[in-house]
């Protein structure tokens, strides 16, 4: 009698646990009724764990990988990049350019239907594209002032502000993409973005539960463009009928979830877990090159305005150590002076590499003496919200101290960091990881609002690239501009980082171009 309460409690708890555990299992196989259960047993639902709730589902205006990554499954542009980084028609059928390069006549594909059942026509394209030129910062800085006009229901004209060889490439940029929405969605959009999520893509948004998931369902009337699947263009199948983008902010939960089978795919695996997970036989790890980790230098205030001083900073850096501290494993980064993806045949170049990864403390000291440096305090601002940026900053600080620079680190939360970063009076240097751009002229470093770089050489360089008559000439002009960035000591690439995605062994058909692509992905039961 005396022991009864204890045993009773334990028994009750155990039985609850077992009953609850028994309830499980009916989770993912609930929808396997309709389709053929003969050959391959694929899941009807694909669960992808993403690291943050998307701030919106308006890829035109928001520069966010999560918005863009979901967006490519829902919306389509006129042109998109194929696997070889060539712009390929998607909603467009063909285009012609006038002799002076000022007017692009674009024929649209016929019979393409939006997720609301209505056909896409020139009116929708004109409304969407004109909004895009206005709200997409990347588009606005390059082709702001250009206008789309309707010719007939399936033809539009683009009158550009300035003739350039890269117009179609800009239209095909995957980040802040030129997504085509129905005209009425564009008209009802506010400053915060669109409020209905209707595109022409292989998946439609069926439900968005804030902070929980975005549920996409295959669009039954989807009209794929012809040609083999390649990058963001070609045939898209919607191979798994339903995709859940589950918002899982905690990284260890994303890992435990993909190991237990709760999620089929987990994005943004922290580098610390890379080695651990690579020994897990049930998982495949995909490592995709994602962008560059960069050090930006103020070029306007105090001692930072002195070019020789900035050269001393570049001389002091040992990029291998910095990247190792940031990414933890040499498999996960690459040292290269290029600001673009080094494999990009047109824009990848190592011009200016004599200023990259110099590891020369002596030279740094000499340059400091020459610059008349008098132990002025130099502030590196950073944020712990991005561990790679923070860890790299600490190593840079140490290397600068070695060279005799009085470097201090100030750490803030992300929003505060961004506030400091945008004002040269509030930082001397900072490090950010920046995703690749399709065109080097879209790089943040060239934007005076980013780190305050405001040299005439930059504007001239951009003009030269855009006015180039051939791809080769454009590439050459970019190589010159990259050299200038290094020479001027405005910023330096520290290295190229990768993103790690973990997926179940049963997942096939995965592809990556700027974003993870899931439309041809299946997961076996």
């Amino acid at each position: 009698m005396k022991r009864k309460p204890l045993f009773g409690a334990a028994a009750l708890l155990m039985s609850t646990a077992l009953v609850l555990a028994g309830c499980g299992g009916g989770n993912s196989d609930s929808g396997s009724g309709g389709s053929g259960d003969s050959a391959s047993k694929n899941k009807e639902e694909l669960h992808v764990a993403i690291s943050a709730n998307p701030p919106s589902l308006d890829p035109q205006s928001i520069n966010s990988n999560i918005v863009g990554g979901i967006g490519v499954h829902v919306y389509e542009p006129l042109f998109a990049m194929n696997a070889d980084y060539e712009p390929t028609p998607v909603l467009a059928e063909s285009y012609e350019v006038s002799d002076d390069g000022m007017v692009y006549t674009i024929k649209l594909r016929q019979g393409v239907k939006f997720h609301n059942g209505e056909e896409m026509t020139a009116d929708d394209v004109v409304a969407s594209m004109n909004r895009w030129i206005e709200v997409s910062a990347k588009a606005n800085t390059l082709i702001g002032g250009s206008v789309f006009e309707k010719v007939d229901d399936y033809t539009v004209n683009l009158k550009v502000n300035q003739a350039s060889s890269d117009i179609i490439m800009i239209l095909a940029s995957p980040i802040q993409a030129a997504a085509i929405y129905p005209a009425e969605v564009v008209e009802s959009a506010t400053a915060e973005g669109i409020s209905e999520y209707i595109g022409t893509g292989p998946y439609k948004v069926s439900e968005w539960k804030q902070d929980q998931y975005v549920k996409l369902e295959a669009y039954e009337d989807y009209q794929p463009s012809e040609g083999e699947a390649s990058g963001l263009a070609g045939e898209k199948q919607a191979a798994t009928p339903t995709i859940y983008y589950d918002v899982v902010t905690d990284a260890s939960t994303r890992i435990a979830g993909v190991q237990s089978g709760e999620y089929d795919i987990s994005e943004e695996i922290p580098i610390d877990n890379y080695e651990d997970l690579s020994s897990d036989n049930g998982l495949t790890l995909k490592v995709d090159r994602g962008g560059t980790l960069n050090l930006f230098l103020d070029t306007t205030e105090g001692v930072m305005a002195n070019q020789t001083f900035r050269q001393a900073v570049l001389a002091a850096l040992n990029c291998d150590d910095i990247m190792l501290a940031a990414y933890g494993n040499p498999d996960l980064y690459e040292l290269n002076a290029s600001w673009s993806d080094p494999t990009d045949t047109q824009w990848g170049t190592d011009e200016g590499s004599e200023y990259y990864n110099q590891q020369d403390t002596e030279k740094a000291k000499e340059l400091l003496a020459e610059a008349g440096y008098n132990n002025e305090k130099v502030v590196l601002v950073t944020t712990q919200d991005y561990p790679e940026m923070y860890n790299a900053t600490l190593v840079v600080q140490e290397e600068l101290k070695q060279a005799g620079i009085n470097a201090e680190v100030e750490t803030y939360d992300f929003s505060t960091f961004m506030e400091h970063r945008s004002d040269p009076q509030q930082f001397d240097m900072f490090i950010t990881s920046n995703s690749y751009n399709m065109l080097p002229i879209q790089l943040s470093v060239l934007d005076s609002g980013w780190a305050g770089l405001n040299a005439p050489e930059v504007t001239e360089g951009i003009t030269a690239i855009r006015a180039a008559s051939s791809d080769e000439e454009a590439a050459e002009a970019w190589a010159d501009l990259q050299t200038f960035l290094y020479e001027y000591g405005a910023a330096t690439v520290l290295g190229h980082y990768t993103g790690v995605i973990a997926m179940d062994k049963g997942v096939t058909g995965y592809d990556y171009l700027r974003f993870p692509i899931y439309w041809n992905v299946t997961a076996s039961e």
Partner: protein, 316 residues
């Protein structure tokens, strides 16, 4: 009685006013605004300024606060720019998982702690008592996130008994709902049980050696009746206070557990809205949580009266 409750509720108003004022000021003073969070890493300062102006965040502090405060008095708590819904509907939505989790965790905590506490007090000084005390100290010392991760790894990844994370609404069935909540509830329940066991034990120890217990025994009452009716009932106010506090802390959202187990509750809403600088949501959540906490305490005070008539409000 009614007067007492009314008085308590009225005394809340200055508390809420000060809390709202302080929170608004803090959010106003920390740099970075909703526009920075909304537009992403590479937004230009011009874009951020434009959106801030559009949203009214470029106005002076007092203007913003008075504007917000008068709206609240009218029942309009503002709107979240990220969630695309009003603050009140967001709180209502995010409160459901928290409430479910809190109730579930509290039940687990009670099932574990009350019998253990009674037993430990009754068997004072024995190995059983020592084990209970040690276990409850360990439970209080163990960081909640560590326990959560251990449970997640063991029951989720290793045994596959429970989903590692996530949330199923009640509309998906009670079984599914509880299955997702079990691990987080167990994790929270164990930590709360550790505290409640100690409180139960110590309050019972006090009463077990009182004279009336001796009398009850002397007149030949059964041990069970002596402990469960006389001792426990007299120790109840202390235990009730402890339970009230523990429920208060559970129901106001548990940031770490909810984030780890990915449960879209108040705790997660608090954290994400701070990161997003979603001012009105932060305000709304803080006021709501303050209200909840005070109400839970009020209910506990009223319940005292049922366990001990001497403590009934209104009695001199």
């Amino acid at each position: 009685m009614l007067k007492y409750i009314l008085k308590r509720i009225l005394s809340l108003i200055p508390v809420l006013f000060v809390v709202s004022c302080v929170i608004f000021l803090v959010v106003y003073m920390i740099p970075g605004g909703p526009a920075t969070a909304l537009l992403g890493m590479e937004a230009t300062p011009d874009q951020i300024d434009a959106l801030n102006a559009e949203l009214g965040f470029d106005r002076p502090f007092l203007v913003q606060y008075v504007d917000w405060f008068t709206n609240v008095l009218r029942g309009d708590w503002g709107e979240s720019y990220f969630l695309h819904q009003t603050v009140t509907s967001a709180i209502a939505e995010y409160f459901v998982p928290t409430l479910s989790l809190a109730v579930f965790a509290q039940i687990i905590a009670l099932i574990l702690s009350i019998p253990l506490g009674i037993l430990a007090a009754y068997k004072r000084g024995t190995a059983l008592d020592l084990t209970c005390v040690t276990a409850s100290l360990l439970g209080s010392a163990l960081p909640g996130f560590l326990l959560s991760m251990f449970l997640m790894l063991f029951f989720g990844v290793y045994l596959h008994w429970f989903p590692v994370a996530g949330y199923a609404a009640l509309s998906e069935g009670l079984g599914e709902h509880l299955r997702y909540l079990f691990l987080p509830a167990l994790s929270l329940g164990i930590v709360q049980a550790a505290y409640l066991t100690r409180m139960t034990r110590s309050s019972l120890l006090e009463t077990l050696y009182k004279n009336y217990i001796q009398t009850a025994r002397a007149k030949g009452l059964k041990e069970k009746k002596v402990v469960m009716k006389y001792a426990l009932k007299n120790g109840a106010p202390v235990i009730l206070t402890a339970v009230g506090q523990s429920f208060g802390s559970l129901i106001t959202g548990t940031i770490v557990t909810e984030t780890l187990f990915n449960i879209p509750g108040l705790g997660m809403l608090t954290l994400t809205s701070i990161n997003r600088r979603d001012v009105f949501v932060i305000q709304g959540v803080v006021i709501f949580v303050t209200l909840l906490y005070v109400i839970v305490n009020l209910i506990v005070d009223i319940l005292y009266g049922f366990t001990d008539p001497r403590l009934r409000p209104g009695r001199k």
